[in-house]
């Protein structure tokens, strides 16, 4: 009884767990229940029950509601599909002038908007692409195909790779200095020599359209939300869901709305990349000290000047993190959107992975990662650049970069021209090294993989079998054994204990949505994989973070490593694990662990770092040793921040689990992947995405509420 009074929370949690397990044991698995089978797969079967909602027929296998809730939301995907179809094909027909046929045509409004948006995006991408690679679409866009037939010499020739490489190096030099210039030059040369020039430039042209557009939209909406509470309130739920929504899931609706190709990829990338940009813009603007704003006003700033000369530069740190995020998402999407027909490195990467050609995949993945890091560093350097007003420079000094570029331009063209003589009859290597005609290390890597497989096959297989049979399968079975009602009770109880009624209601609504969707079993499998990944990631991340924190240099080094790893597109993580473990759940889980360890490590170091120096000194003066200081002072104080790391770890893990469907897992991701090739997939894809997002949001809500309370309790913020 004394313990009960001393630790009331502990007993409440114990009670909750007891209830949960009691329910688990009390509710039996129905004999006819088949695990994992979708409960509403739209196949007719006399054993199914049927209900109608909004004119939609939903068929499902009915079981005890305590065991599995009926899929009352089964109509949602169908309904989304129908609505999308209606909007695209029937809603608001209007007369539009058609250039080609020279007459008015009736078209639904949304279709017309989508077409115009699409052609605009295509134009932008083609413009950049043809500057880099050559082509005639841009000229055609201004004139016509007949025109280009009449004047074939008008075709854009494309820049020789030497010029692009020199340009990239010079720009990097201007922005940052020798180091970055060297990196830029080497990256470009590497890309070219290894025959990845064309796909790389295709990807680059995609990014150069998607990233700036995402930045502008994100910044604009962020400013709007900062200025108006109403806009913020309207945006907030969307932002929240989009943050935990797997990128896969948005592909399918985009397919329906914008068709297949680079333009759809750009639009969908914006949908994914804009939310974090908005959030960080708001965060940055909110953190500006009021006196700085007043100083701006007293300097006589107009509203416009105040925003762009005072507020945004002052909020630069957070906005830069936003830019970093945008670039990350863009590269990640550059790969994923290959599923909807975007050209470039992503397509090659997916193709190579599909053919199990690890060597090729590795080359493409390396290229995309290098470009990602380069652009990331360049954007950072650009934002930190400063002007020197007092340098007394000569004309040459002031314009040396332009002069050098002009010079390298001329030299590049001469080289390319000379190249036509040297490489007569074959490819002009000084102009562009064609795909797969460069040096390739693919064979080397493939042999390496084979060697690893031959040499370590026994061990890898043994490990694999052990993991799957003794750890993963039982864990999966346990998760699947959870009755819907018991899970609901657990979630709601946790919500109540952590955040009171409000939290309990939010969590209940999110859980119910998943439970009432036709994919409860799949969600449980997703959850089990994510849990496994998160537990291991946190163990590794917290340990590595704590160890690295002991020394300033190693902490900085580790944060740098995290930065670089975070820049890699998520798909790249699949390459090395497939190299080692082939196509198994183990591969996916290891990719999940590697990917999700990044935030766990980062937040641990940052959390430990944020412990005030004064406390360290106070602790030292109290005579604690290193270990005591860690356990008594640093961990308790850093713990809330580490929990935020856990939150990120969960989101990262969920993303990777869903992407892992590409290798073949039996979770929600598999259905999302399926939906991509289904003509009625939009509704299913979106609903599945929301399910995954909600799993993330349940944890997000619980963790954030807890952290908020804990921080208040500790008086840190």
């Amino acid at each position: 009884m004394e313990y009960l009074k001393k630790y009331p929370k502990l007993f409440q949690w114990l009670f909750l767990l007891i209830v949960f397990f009691a329910l688990c044991f009390a509710i039996d698995v129905p004999e006819t229940y088949k695990f994992i089978r979708g409960q509403a797969e739209f196949v007719k079967d006399p054993n199914q029950s049927v209900y109608f909602f909004l004119g939609k027929e939903v068929r499902y296998y009915a079981f005890d509601v305590f065991w599995r809730l009926p899929p009352l939301l089964g109509w949602l995907p169908i309904w989304i599909n129908d609505s999308l179809f209606f909007l695209m094909n029937e809603w608001m027909p209007m007369e539009f002038w058609n250039e080609d046929t020279q007459e008015f045509k009736t078209r639904p409004l949304l279709l017309e908007i989508s077409r115009n948006l699409t052609s605009f995006m295509t134009f932008l991408i083609e413009l950049i692409r043809e500057i880099l690679l050559g082509g005639l679409e841009t000229i055609v866009a201004f004139t016509s195909w007949d025109f280009i037939d009449a004047y074939p010499w008008l075709e854009l020739p494309g820049l020789p790779w030497t010029i692009v490489a020199a340009g990239a190096a010079l720009l990097s030099y201007k922005l940052s200095g020798k180091g970055l210039a060297l990196f830029a030059g080497l990256t470009m040369i590497y890309i070219s020599i290894f025959g990845q020039w064309k796909p790389s430039m295709q990807t680059l042209s995609f990014i150069l359209v998607a990233a700036p557009l995402s930045f502008i939209f994100g910044l604009g909406l962020g400013i709007a939300a900062y200025k108006s509470k109403r806009v913020e309130k309207a945006l907030y739920p969307i932002l929240l869901v989009m943050q935990t929504m797997p990128q896969y899931a948005v592909l399918v609706p985009a397919l329906v709305l914008f068709g297949v190709g680079d333009h759809a990829a750009v639009i969908i990338t914006m949908v994914v990349a804009v939310p974090p940009m908005i959030l960080l813009t708001i965060l940055g603007l909110r953190a500006i000290p009021p006196e700085v704003i007043e100083a701006g006003r007293m300097s006589g700033c107009t509203n416009w000047q105040l925003m762009f000369k005072v507020l945004i530069p002052t909020a630069r740190r957070d906005i830069l993190i936003g830019v970093n995020q945008v670039i990350m998402v863009c590269f990640s999407m550059a790969v994923i959107s290959a599923f909807i027909g975007a050209k470039g490195l992503g397509f090659n990467l997916l193709l190579a992975l599909n053919q199990l050609n690890i060597g090729l995949a590795l080359e493409a993945g390396l290229c995309i990662s290098l470009i990602a890091i380069l652009l990331d560093k360049m954007s950072l350097a650009w934002a930190n650049k400063q002007t020197d007003y007092f340098g007394n420079l000569t004309f040459f000094q002031r314009n040396k970069n332009a002069i050098f570029f002009a010079a390298s331009f001329v030299i590049g063209i001469i080289l390319a021209y000379v190249g036509t003589f040297i490489f007569k009859g074959s490819f002009n290597y000084l102009f562009e090294i064609p795909h797969n005609k460069g040096i390739s290390t693919a064979d080397f890597w493939n042999k390496g993989v084979d060697w690893i497989f031959d040499t370590f096959f026994v061990y890898i297989k043994a490990f694999n079998t052990w993991l799957i049979q003794d750890v993963l399968q039982p864990m999966r079975a346990l998760y699947l054994r959870m009755p819907a009602v018991a899970t609901l009770v657990l979630a709601v109880g946790a919500g109540y204990l952590i955040g009171g009624v409000r939290s309990a209601l939010v969590v209940a609504a999110l859980t119910l949505f998943i439970a009432l969707s036709p994919w409860w079993d799949r969600a449980l499998v997703t959850l089990y994989m994510a849990t496994f990944g998160v537990v291991i990631s946190c163990l590794i991340g917290f340990t590595v973070g704590t160890l690295c924190f002991q020394n300033k240099k190693s902490a900085a080094f580790m944060l740098g490593v995290c930065d670089i790893f975070q820049t890699f597109p998520s798909f790249v993580y699949l390459i090395p694990v497939m190299m080692l473990f082939g196509i198994t759940d183990t591969s996916v889980l290891i990719a999940v662990i590697v990917y999700a360890t990044i935030p766990a490590t980062r937040y641990t170091i940052e959390g430990l770092r944020s412990v005030p120096v004064g406390l360290h000194e106070a602790a030292t003066m109290s005579g604690v040793n290193k270990f005591q200081r860690l356990t008594k002072i640093e961990f308790p104080l850093a713990f809330p921040h580490m929990m935020l790391g856990l939150n990120q770890t969960i989101v990262f893990a969920l993303f990777m689990v869903i992407i892992g469907a590409f290798i073949g897992t039996e979770d929600l991701g598999q259905y999302i992947l399926k939906a991509l090739s289904d003509k009625n997939g939009a509704g299913i894809g979106l609903t599945l995405g929301i399910c995954v997002a909600f799993i993330g949001l349940i944890f997000d809500n619980l963790i954030r509420t807890w952290v908020g309370k804990r921080k208040k309790h500790l008086g840190i913020d």
């Binding site: 000290p289 006196e291 700085v292 007043e294 100083a295 006003r297 007293m298 300097s299 006589g300 700033c301 107009t302 000047q305 000369k309 005072v310 530069p313 002052t314 630069r316 400063q386 020197d388 007003y389 007092f390």
Partner: protein, 343 residues
């Protein structure tokens, strides 16, 4: 007095949703307590005063007394809830946004407690900022900013970023920035409060030197009574949004209007604040001894001389005409009389 630059007539600032309506209902009789019960907080309560050209008015009050709010009403960083504010005869509250911006660009400068420098700009860029906002070209604004850098003694640090400077240096930048457009009116919101005592004294002296040279019309906010005494032509003491007393430093020390003001003056060393004129007897000019002192001398400087005299000491003005006299015992009274000794 010369011409009036800032003029406030019954200025109110009340925070809260129905502030305007409640103020109208109260007929100018604002009671902080009843307002608070209805969800409104009174920032400034019926402030009326004038500031003449070249005068330095120091507004003194503890935190929460409404002094910063009053300053923000006059610079219109917040809109006053009621009353009228005139800047050089122009009704401030009637100005539209464009006119207000013009006013700030040409007439006003402000220094902030937390310096409020733009973190992404160097010293010289920060100082040139108001000029560039006005549309001055880069070359001219930078050369003007360099003059200001010299004025505040930061030569050689013009390319530093604010984060690379000490607090005192940062505030010098803030002062230089506020002076860059050559404003007539200078607002200083607790400019030295965030500085160490030694640096603070140094900055106060520097500030007096600048003001000697520039002769701006100044509103200076502080919570430090000693600072107010040292700098002010006149002091306004605020409490709970109300101006308790507005007078010259000497009059405040000699005749505190309320109990609240008296508490501040208790610990003040009078001999450092008062001048002979404040304590002399203007009626008796006869029977004087040999010693003559100027009426503008601070008591501390001449006390020793006066105390060695047995006869009355004559007080003279700048033309050496006798304007009054002072008894040696009066000095002792002044220095020790008003203070509670040993309590």
């Amino acid at each position: 007095m010369s011409e009036t630059v800032i003029k406030c007539e019954s200025v109110y600032k009340i925070f809260g949703e129905n502030a305007k309506k409640m103020l109208e209902e109260s007929n100018g009789n604002v009671d902080a307590k009843t307002f608070q019960e209805r969800g409104c907080i009174v920032g400034v309560n019926n402030a009326s005063f004038e500031v003449a050209k070249g005068e330095m008015l120091v507004v003194m009050g503890l935190s929460g007394s409404g002094k910063s709010t009053l300053l923000r009403c006059i610079s219109r960083l917040t809109d006053a809830t009621g009353g009228k504010i005139f800047i050089e005869g122009q009704d401030l509250l009637e100005l539209n946004n464009k006119e207000l911006i013009e006013l700030r660009r040409n007439k006003m400068g402000m220094v902030f407690q937390s310096f409020a420098l733009l973190p992404h700009k160097t010293v010289v860029e920060n100082i040139a900022f108001p000029l560039q906002i006005k549309g001055t070209n880069t070359e001219e604004s930078i050369s003007r900013a360099m003059e200001m850098v010299k004025l505040v003694g930061l030569d050689g640090r013009e390319n530093y970023f604010p984060r690379e400077l000490s607090g005192g240096q940062q505030q010098r930048v803030g002062i230089a920035r506020s002076l860059a457009v050559e404003p007539d009116i200078w607002f200083l919101d607790e400019p030295f409060s965030a500085l160490d005592p030694l640096i603070r004294k140094e900055m106060q002296d520097e500030f007096l030197r600048l003001q000697e040279k520039l002769q701006k019309t100044i509103m200076f906010i502080t919570h430090d009574f000693d600072e107010a005494l040292k700098l002010a032509d006149r002091i306004a003491i605020m409490k709970d949004g109300i101006i308790e007393q507005l007078d010259t430093p000497a009059n405040i020390v000699l005749n505190p209007a309320t109990e609240y003001v008296r508490k501040f003056t208790e610990e003040v060393p009078r001999e450092k604040v008062l001048i002979i004129e404040d304590v002399m007897d203007a009626s008796s000019k006869d029977n004087l001894g040999d010693l003559k002192v100027s009426k503008d001398e601070i008591i501390e400087n001449v006390a020793e001389k006066i105390l060695t005299q047995e006869k009355l000491v004559g007080v003279v003005d700048s033309n050496n005409n006798i304007v009054g006299s002072i008894k040696p015992s009066k000095i002792i009274d002044t220095v020790f009389g008003g203070r509670k000794i040993g309590s």
